[in-house]
Symmetry: C2
Subunit: 462 residues, 2 copies
């Protein structure tokens, strides 16, 4: 209650302050509502769902936003794409296809803890493009990691979590940040960021995102399991049982079922259609709708399955609302205004220093955020504009901020909803996330902003 | 498969036909897609979800609709209102408030079968304004009717369904059509119809709908239990146990719980705010969002509850898509075109004959529809325009068609999703629905188009 009162007082105070010179009162008021909404999530005053709905209602009742503008996010093609992808991902899980792919990788590469970690990471990296909900992906990966750990006798209930499970869990948890960095469609807000970047005349699509992300992500993915093996080692480094376990599971699964085959066909169709959507002139969201229709038509997925997926509706509601607000704030010129201010502050530094400071502060800011989505919606546009205003390399900065939005997920336990399952398993302690998650985030920051930045600038010079 | 092939051939045939003279090819193509979508639902080729998604994808891929136009329904305030109301209704059920209200009515009025029928009907009529999902309302009423029937020893498993249960079930099932007629917010498509009517400069809001519907609906509600008592009688006409049963249940429930009190407060707040929304200039959908936020904030309803409500997402998807298509068809002038054609056909008749023929054909058409929503979306605009073109009383015709959209729900077993629960209980046979449902629909048609029409015309003459 104190917290709720505090956040309302903060909101009213911000609202009452005069708008900075040159900014319209409406833009300032929307900022007051928006930042209070975000802070109420950061400080756990409200859930992201309640915070968003309250923000929406206040914005409409105070006539800061028209109902049309406030609701517009619900029909945004990106928001609808996420909803469809969420449901399609569930059918990949339901059909058994996701687990089969994972088991096959483990069967081939799982003889050592390191090999096992790499195979889980590879699984994630490969399935990621069809999973714009990284939370859904964590839901698929987690039971596999969990089963592999247990099959090797590593179980928190027996006090043997450090034997293998903790190591694999942490690798997979941090790995989701990397797999999300690799593909435009591997994380909900990647396309949102791309849409913001489009305002600067830079087209980020499925192909050039993959190209830009490939080198730094592969380097980070190669280093991640190895670094954790040193700083957060499993006591069992050799896991001879894992391939056998996977083989046994595959044997039990038998040949691919009809459902798996259909899902695989739809899965491949979607990836091809998404990759070629620009050339064929097909709307990406309509492609996703088609994918869902095919899964429903073939009975692989049923309305009864969707009935259990109210989570997709929850995600749609808060995501659409924050999307509407952020876009309205952008359209009112707020981002530009603040971007110019930050740019002035950083103006004294040399260009490279300004660049790294911008990205570094953007990353450090994530200590305050519960949601990667909220972080991107609140700060990405501002930081990008600041950089643009300073004359920094736009595509380079855009990608560095976008990749950061994904890899900084492990900086805190609540940095991403993906972390929750891993931590709730009992294999990873909360204080370990702050320690090793912070270390990994710093490591990723360095890799992406050296090798990665060079690569992006080089690729975009053609 | 044959059915699916048939419907696709029909769709392609319609598409290939030249557009009637004076109609743009785009409008004709959208009609071909839309009517094929509706027919595929009517003939049970696809579920309404799959049919809508396929229609959407085809409309976008053929460039008949832009993605923006095709997705626009998702951010429509009416569609969002339905989604919010769906969730709020669930929390009324969850809190126990709905059942308490019902039990109290039964305790007071339930000594005879007729009194019991009236009390169930009154319950429905009173709670209806806060339940734009009549399906959700049927979900609340059904378990009460069921419990009351069983408490009186009427049970299909014992072969005693005719003792009391069949009669009460049929009354309640048909009653939902009447309670939906009474309030603008008692049925999902009522506001959609009102929005279409607004195109003719007639404002239908919460208050004037209630006024217009009050007299004929009360007459129909008074007659309904009495008519069924004659044609579909229970063998047990006196039910001395019902008040006791209700009292016992209420005793078991004890005093109102905190959750019930909160829900009641939110419930009352919503009804007041909706009723005053025009005066206060508050967006009705934002009010519904606020209601949900209050229920979530107070913990009466939780995100975990919403997680089970994927049905709301399913409803939103097909409803938004059909809404987008229907509105696009309207905007392209299709409704006007067909309305003029029908008007020409009916032109020879006198004005009163033309009026009743229009409403009668509109009602009879419902034999072909599974969904009241689809019926309204496909035909309401066309029939209304036909009437307008003939110079009939616009408000009178609009209301007669809107009321019909509600009361014709019992004309067939599949005429409304509300019927499904009642029929699945084993108390009512399918052939009985065709017989007595048809009879009741005819009765309602007569009541609304005599007393009701006179009343509406008189009320609107001021």
């Amino acid at each position: 209650m104190y917290k709720a009162a505090g956040i309302f007082i903060l909101g009213i105070t911000l609202w009452s302050l005069p708008a900075p010179e040159g900014m319209e009162a409406q833009a300032w008021h929307l900022f007051a509502i928006f930042i209070t909404t975000i802070l109420s999530v950061v400080f756990r005053v409200f859930s992201i769902l309640v915070a968003s709905i309250l923000g929406l209602v206040i914005a409409i009742f105070t006539q800061t936003l028209s109902p049309e503008a406030a609701f517009s996010g619900f029909s945004n093609n990106i928001v609808l794409l996420i909803v469809m992808a969420f449901l399609i991902a569930k059918s990949v899980v339901k059909s058994g296809l996701g687990i089969r792919i994972a088991l096959q990788l483990i069967m081939r590469f799982g003889k050592t803890a390191l090999g096992l970690a790499y195979s889980l990471l590879a699984t994630d990296l490969l399935i990621a493009p069809a999973f714009p909900s990284n939370t859904a992906r964590s839901g698929l990966l987690f039971p596999i990691v969990y089963s592999v750990a247990k099959a090797n006798g590593s179980d928190p209930e027996l006090g043997t979590e450090k034997k293998l499970g903790s190591y694999l869990m942490f690798t997979s948890m941090a790995g989701i940040g990397l797999s999300s960095s690799l593909w435009l469609t591997a994380m909900a807000v990647n396309p949102v960021g791309a849409a913001i970047v489009a305002n600067y005349g830079i087209t980020i699509n499925f192909s050039n995102w993959l190209l830009a992300a490939s080198l730094p992500t592969i380097v980070a993915a190669v280093i991640l399991p190895w670094v954790l093996l040193k700083v957060y080692p499993p006591t069992l480094k050799i896991t001879p049982d894992a391939p056998g376990y996977a083989k046994e599971q595959l044997g039990r699964m038998g040949n691919m079922s009809k459902d798996e085959k259909i899902t695989l066909a739809v899965f491949i169709l979607l990836i091809i259609a998404w990759a070629l959507s620009d050339i064929l002139g097909l709307d990406r969201t309509a492609i996703a709708f088609l994918g869902l229709a095919l899964l429903l038509l073939t009975g692989v997925y049923t309305p009864a399955d969707i009935r259990k997926e109210g989570e997709a509706l929850i995600t749609m509601i808060w995501f659409a609302i924050l999307f509407s607000m952020s876009m309205a704030l952008y359209n009112m010129g707020f981002m530009n205004y603040v971007g110019v201010l930050i740019a002035k502050e950083i103006d004294g530094f040399s260009e490279p220093a300004a660049f790294f400071l911008l990205v570094f502060f953007y990353v450090v800011f994530h200590y305050l955020f519960v949601s990667q989505t909220a972080h991107l919606l609140a700060l990405f546009g501002v930081f990008l504009f600041a950089g643009v205003d300073l004359g920094l390399h736009v595509a380079g900065l855009a990608y560095m901020l976008l990749f950061a939005t994904n890899y900084f997920s492990v900086i805190t336990p609540q940095g991403s909803s993906c972390n929750v399952l891993y931590i709730s398993s009992g294999y990873i302690r909360v204080d370990e996330v702050y320690k090793y998650g912070g270390l990994l985030t710093l490591l990723f920051f360095i890799i992406y902003n050296t090798i990665g930045l060079g690569w992006v600038v080089w690729v975009f010079s053609f």
